[in-house]
Point group: C2
């Protein structure tokens, strides 16, 4: 806390060049001075979420990455397939900072009383560029952590907790009563499972490995279906009959899973149908694709009637839609249950220079369940 | 009008047997007596819409159809692929009447004054089982046709006109300002084009043949894109830039077209984007799949950001959603513009027995543009 604030500090940058190359490096930037209603946070911990990795690497082929620079200022370059260049036209030549969220200690504050009150406190922060040693942020992007919580405890206070709560809130607002979630053994999935257990909401967890199913059952999950099971569709249908779930959040996005969920929902609804309708069940069935773990095209056979929807789901537009008061209520719940419902676990920590080592890139780019990394910039 | 009302009359039936066979036949049924608020209509004309053909044949393989029965009461049978039997489990063994809509002359009426007032009048009717010689229907399912309109003029007063108006209404209610329509040279598509021209709404018409493009241009369509053009995606993007359309109604349902429309909408929106967002444009892009002309699976690459939706769209739930007053307003517009905006054309007429001839089945099952059939049961 009493360390002097340096004039300059490191910030990780991701740059895509028009030549078709990704370049990751550390930039030396001026440490900002907080405005009246801002605080300066020394970032101590920031998670490597899938969405961060998406911005960090873009569509680059990281298996072709090469290391350069020196030990203190490493540089990593990797080729970008030509077909993918069109999708990143908007960021060509722009050196972008990365890292949606993090946590740290307030080392300086602007003149406002509210800002001054945070000096010396540990806060979670949201707002991009968190793979930096220092960040100045407006108060509304900070969440004061409860007494005794470390930056590592609070590093993932926003993206996963708000996403999981946002799914439950979306379910309620759109008139559904139970949920389906894929890639359900993820940090986010385990969190959603804890929320649903606590709130008494039936949840169907879809995973792709037996050990992920075991993990979820060991933390109290009731309905767990494994896509690799030969009777997956039947098991999923039974779980949907048992829960009545008619909304799903799919982290994979590609392949046939989203359509299979809609098809099984329709089968489950038709179990109780009283008469034949060639247009299928009249109950609306919805799948939101919120991730891209499966990069293949999305494909479905239309065997689920006409009352269905598929769409993208993203945290920030959702928060805008519900408005600041509702969003603040979600944040207060997160702070209150930070070490229980919203606890995150990390397999490893890496420094900013550590992030630019080829072996750690290979490790965190796997985005494997239970293998989440925490960045410690200072 | 002064013909005597028979005691029994013919009604076309479609039956799927558990043995995996479709059977089409004519049943002799009692002519119903209208209740107080009903009228008895001698059906003179009923269109063969794609949705009727869907119920009529189900998933049967009509290339394997065989003719039986006799000249007055023909019977057609056709095999159903085993894989398709699950989808029709709900209608097995149920002899179903067919025909969503039609028009005819009121030959008897119930005791109510409103019903009596219709005796001798020509009305359009909605309510299923229209491939019948006589139908009793409640008044609210009848639309009095304007003086001089024939049953053939009014036979298609509901499904296509309400669907086309429903698309425009959905566009308005969901905050969009221009439309995209596929299979746009269809009877429905030409009608939608007339509505949009009349109402000053920009419409992007997607077709798959140069002669369909010509046809639409000849009736005033401004934006016509042909999927077979080597630069289809580019032409579609330009039309979307010109119109600002962010909602589409897709009659094909299968293949890649729906996803391509979303992708081109995104490209069009990004033309005016001010800064790079890895989540794509924040403008919601929507495609409704309302038909199944393309029976392949639906497939898309997710190259249109996160603000998108795909879903089923069906006329009857839409009418329920807007409520009876709004639906009645649409019907009054249809009656007023029956011979202009909402005019339908038919290539051929067939009797009920004619519907059960293998050569006419082969003809109307093509569902080809400009080849619509009109059934004349009496």
């Amino acid at each position: 806390m009493n360390q002097p604030i340096p004039a300059t500090a490191l910030q990780l940058r991701s740059l895509i060049k028009a030549s078709g190359e990704l370049e990751l490096s550390l930039a030396l930037i001026d440490v900002p001075r907080p405005a009246a209603n801002e605080v300066l946070v020394r970032i101590e911990a920031a998670p490597l979420n899938p969405s961060d990795i998406g911005l960090l690497f873009g569509p680059a082929d990281m298996s072709g990455a090469t290391a350069g620079g020196n030990a203190e200022r490493p540089v990593v370059t990797a080729p970008i397939p030509e077909a993918a260049m069109k999708a990143v036209a908007g960021r060509l030549g722009v050196s972008m900072p990365v890292g949606n969220e993090g946590a740290g200690v307030v080392v300086a504050a602007g003149s406002s009383e509210a800002a001054q009150a945070l000096v010396g406190k540990t806060v979670a922060v949201l707002g991009g560029a968190m793979y930096s040693q220092y960040r100045a942020l407006p108060l509304e992007q900070c969440l004061l952590l409860p007494e005794g919580a470390t930056p590592a405890d609070g590093a993932s206070s926003f993206v996963n907790p708000l996403t999981a709560l946002g799914m439950v809130e979306t379910m309620r607002r759109e008139g559904h009563h139970a949920l389906v979630h894929t890639a359900a053994a993820s940090n986010l999935g385990q969190m959603l499972n804890r929320i649903c257990l606590k709130d008494g909401i039936a949840l169907v967890n879809i995973v792709r490995k037996p050990e992920q199913a075991e993990l979820l059952r060991s933390i109290g999950a009731v309905h767990v279906c494994n896509t690799e099971s030969p009777s997956f569709l039947q098991e999923l249908t039974e779980a949907l009959v048992a829960t009545g779930a008619t909304i799903a959040f799919d982290a994979t996005g590609g392949g046939r899973l989203a359509g299979q969920i809609l098809g099984c929902m329709e089968q489950a609804l038709n179990r109780t149908a009283k008469e034949y309708s060639r247009y299928g069940s009249t109950t609306h069935k919805q799948v939101y694709l919120y991730g891209r773990l499966d990069t293949r095209p999305t494909e479905f056979v239309r065997n689920f009637g006409m009352a269905w929807g598929m769409g993208g789901w993203l945290l920030f537009p959702f928060l805008q839609k519900i408005g600041p008061a509702a969003a603040e209520a979600l944040k207060q719940r997160i702070a209150a249950e930070l070490k229980t419902t919203f606890a995150s676990r990390y397999a490893q920590s890496v420094s900013l220079t550590g992030m630019l080592q080829l072996d750690s890139i290979a490790a965190y780019n796997k985005r494997a369940t239970g293998e989440k990394f925490l960045v410690t910039p200072n």
